[in-house]
Structure formats: structure tokens, C-alpha cells
Amino acid sequence: MTKLHLNNISKRYTRKFIFKDINAEVDLGDVLVLKGFNGSGKSTLIKCIAGLLPVSAGSVEFVKNGNKLSKEELKLHMGFNAPYFHLFNELTAIENIQVLAKARGVSFTVKELNVLLEKFQLAKKGHISIQHFSSGMQQRIKLLCATLFNPSFLFLDEPTSNLDVYGKQLVEALVAEQKKMGITVICTNEVNEAEWGNKTIALS
């Protein structure tokens, strides 16, 4: 059983509320879409849900196999990607993957790495420092890292930004794949991306 509960969460800076009393029940296979105009607080909300920002009121609960996850446990089950989220740019694509893998105590063979890079259309780019990647390629390697360990909770803020048509298809395929494994939360202004979701929070 995998669940995400948002219980009356609010966020405010000084006296101004960015959002107030947000509630949601998200289950395995659900895709929660956060919609709203620029500056409506979508990114703040996704950061609050993912635990990157503290909420001003309310609570966020992650449940995996019937157990409520602690902040530390959540790190093992979460993937995150956003435009303001950066990998270690001096490192190559493979080194970035290796650092993540080392933190989980796993290692990949060369063959497995090549399959992964191929899937994200980064074949033969593994040994290039990602600071030399185009913005689209950087988005692909960030998506690869976010989905590397088949996370139960996947957070995607503007997931198709900077991507070409093949990249957008890749993201759609990733979201479809994620439905079988866990919960997806997407922040978007794109109408077609909003259609991937079965639950929506609209911020004004």
C-alpha cells in the first residue's frame, strides 16, 4: 500500500499565504497534477510536499507498505526533478549516477549503465561532464537520476521543459511506467501534461 496524504497544508511568508488548507489523498497509480498560473505557488507546493521546504501549517504523510515514512526513509523512495534542481555539473553523467548508486549501496555494470543512457537518449554521452550538456540533455540526465531506483514517489516540476518531441514522449512513457510502481506528482502549465493526471490541485 503506497499513499500520500496532504492534510490542510498551508505555506506563508510573513503574513502572505502562498497557498492555504490544501488537502489530498493520493494512492498507488495516481498522478496528482498541480496547476496554476505563473507565481501561483506550484513549485512552492511541490517543494513542501517533497519535504524540501517546511509547511507553515498542516502535515504531509507518506505511507509505504502500510508504514508511515520518516523524513530519512522517504529519501530512499523518492525521485525529484525540477528546473531549479541541479545535479553535480562538473561530474560526468556516469559519475553522477555512480554517486547516487553509492549512496544506495548498489552499483551498475557498464552494460546496465549503457542501457540506462540509451533509454534516456544519452548514449555515448556518459563520459562527458554534464556542464557541457545542452539544456535538453541536462533535463534527460536529471530525469534519469530521478527515476533511477524506481521511486515510489516521483515529483516532477515542469518535466518537459527544454525537451524536444522525443523527450516529451519519454516523459509521458516514464509517467505511464510510474503508475505501475507508485505515485507521481506533476507541476505543469501544459494542457497535455495536465491530462496525464487523474487528480488535480488548481492554485489561484
Binding site: 530519512e72 553535480f88 549512496a103 544506495r104 561532464s129
Partner: protein
């Protein structure tokens, strides 16, 4: 096991970044060698007394440490990798990993400084075992306090010029103890038990406070 994996991952990441950017090596070691050169040129060996040589030795280590350690968290803030680090690592292990990495580089840098300095100034430490213990314990204290200060400064402003100023009152006590302990060894040849005891106390306070304060700083970032 889970935290040990985090620690290994942080050290691997730091090693990769250092190999690529040579942040610490360039700032710490090159700055130290430059300082030694600046100190050597105006004086001849006979101009400087042993006490002065000893103080100069620690001044070079101080500037080397502050220059190198200030970048520890500043580079993460500048490269906007804070969220990435927060998503992967436990905050205590992250701090410990970065401190261990800084400790290794600082020890390496101090080793090079010591070799060059003793050669150029014909500076005889007397007991090398005693001086090694003093340096080791002092560098442990500097590494913990320095890494914590780097995290603090990275939240306050976007450049590290404040580091030397803020770092002075925090790091000064341990440097003063290092200077006195070295002088004791050089002049008497004996082991400075009392001073080493004080350095150990500084290290314990430094480790405890750094670990406590770091989580607050990290959560606020």
C-alpha cells in the same frame, strides 16, 4: 550500513569534484606556497627567531585552512546543488563526509607546508612525533569548526570574504594552542600534555557544537 553508504557517496562525489575543479588543492596549497614565498623573500634565514618562525608557520596554516574550507558549502550554494544534497543525504552524514574530506586535504596541505617551510627556514621541530600529534588534533578541530562556518557563511551571503573575519574568533583559540604547543616542543623537546589536553577539549566542543548547529543551518537553507 545505510549511513556508511552515504558517507562513501559523499567522499566519492567530493573526490570527483576536486579532481575536476581542484577547488581545495588550488586555493589551499597554492595559497600556502605563495604565502611561504612572500615570507621567505623579505627575510634571510638568520633574520627570524625561532618564536617568529613558529608563529609564521601557524599563520600560513591559518590562511591555508580558511581559504580552502570557505568553499566547502559555498560551491554547493553557487552551483545550486543544495536540493540535490538534501534529497540524497542525511544531514549529519553530509556534514561528517565533507569534514572528513576537508580534514584529509588540510592534513595533506599542512604536510606540504611543513616540508617546504622546514626546508626553506631550516626550522627544526625537535620531536616530530609530538608535533604530529599537535598538528593532527589541531587540524581535527579546524576541520569541524571550519566546515560548520562554511555552511553558515554560505547562507549569509554569496561570497566567502566574510569567512576569514567570522572564522577568526572561532578558530583563533585552537591556533593559539597550536602555536604554544609547537613552541613548547621546539624549546623543550618534551610533549606538551597540558596544551594537548586543551586542544582535545577544543576538538570535543568543536565536534559537538558543529554537529548540533549544522542541522539548524541545513534545515534553514
Amino acid at each position: 550500513m545505510h549511513y556508511l553508504n552515504h558517507l562513501k557517496s559523499i567522499l566519492l562525489k567530493e573526490f570527483y569534484q576536486e579532481r575536476q575543479g581542484k577547488y581545495i588543492l588550488n586555493s589551499m596549497l597554492m595559497f600556502s606556497l605563495l604565502l611561504i614565498a612572500v615570507v621567505v623573500f623579505p627575510f634571510t634565514k638568520s633574520d627570524i627567531e625561532t618564536e617568529t618562525k613558529n608563529v609564521l608557520y601557524w599563520v600560513i596554516i591559518y590562511f591555508s585552512a580558511t581559504t580552502g574550507l570557505s568553499n566547502t558549502f559555498l560551491k554547493e550554494a553557487q552551483k545550486q546543488t543544495i536540493f540535490h544534497l538534501k534529497l540524497i543525504y542525511n544531514s549529519y552524514v553530509l556534514f561528517l563526509g565533507k569534514t572528513i574530506f576537508n580534514f584529509i586535504f588540510l592534513m595533506f596541505s599542512v604536510g606540504i607546508i611543513t616540508l617546504v617551510y622546514t626546508e626553506l627556514f631550516s626550522f627544526d621541530f625537535g620531536s616530530y612525533t609530538s608535533i604530529f600529534v599537535v598538528i593532527l588534533l589541531t587540524v581535527i578541530g579546524i576541520s569541524f569548526s571550519g566546515t560548520m562556518l562554511s555552511a553558515l557563511i554560505s547562507q549569509v551571503m554569496s561570497h566567502g570574504s566574510l569567512y576569514v573575519i567570522v572564522g577568526f574568533p572561532v578558530l583563533f583559540p585552537v591556533f593559539l594552542l597550536g602555536i604554544n604547543a609547537t613552541e613548547f616542543i621546539v624549546t623543550t623537546g618534551a610533549f606538551p600534555s597540558d596544551l594537548v589536553g586543551f586542544i582535545v577539549v577544543y576538538d570535543i566542543i568543536s565536534i559537538s557544537l558543529s554537529m548540533l548547529v549544522f542541522e539548524i543551518i541545513w534545515d534553514a537553507s
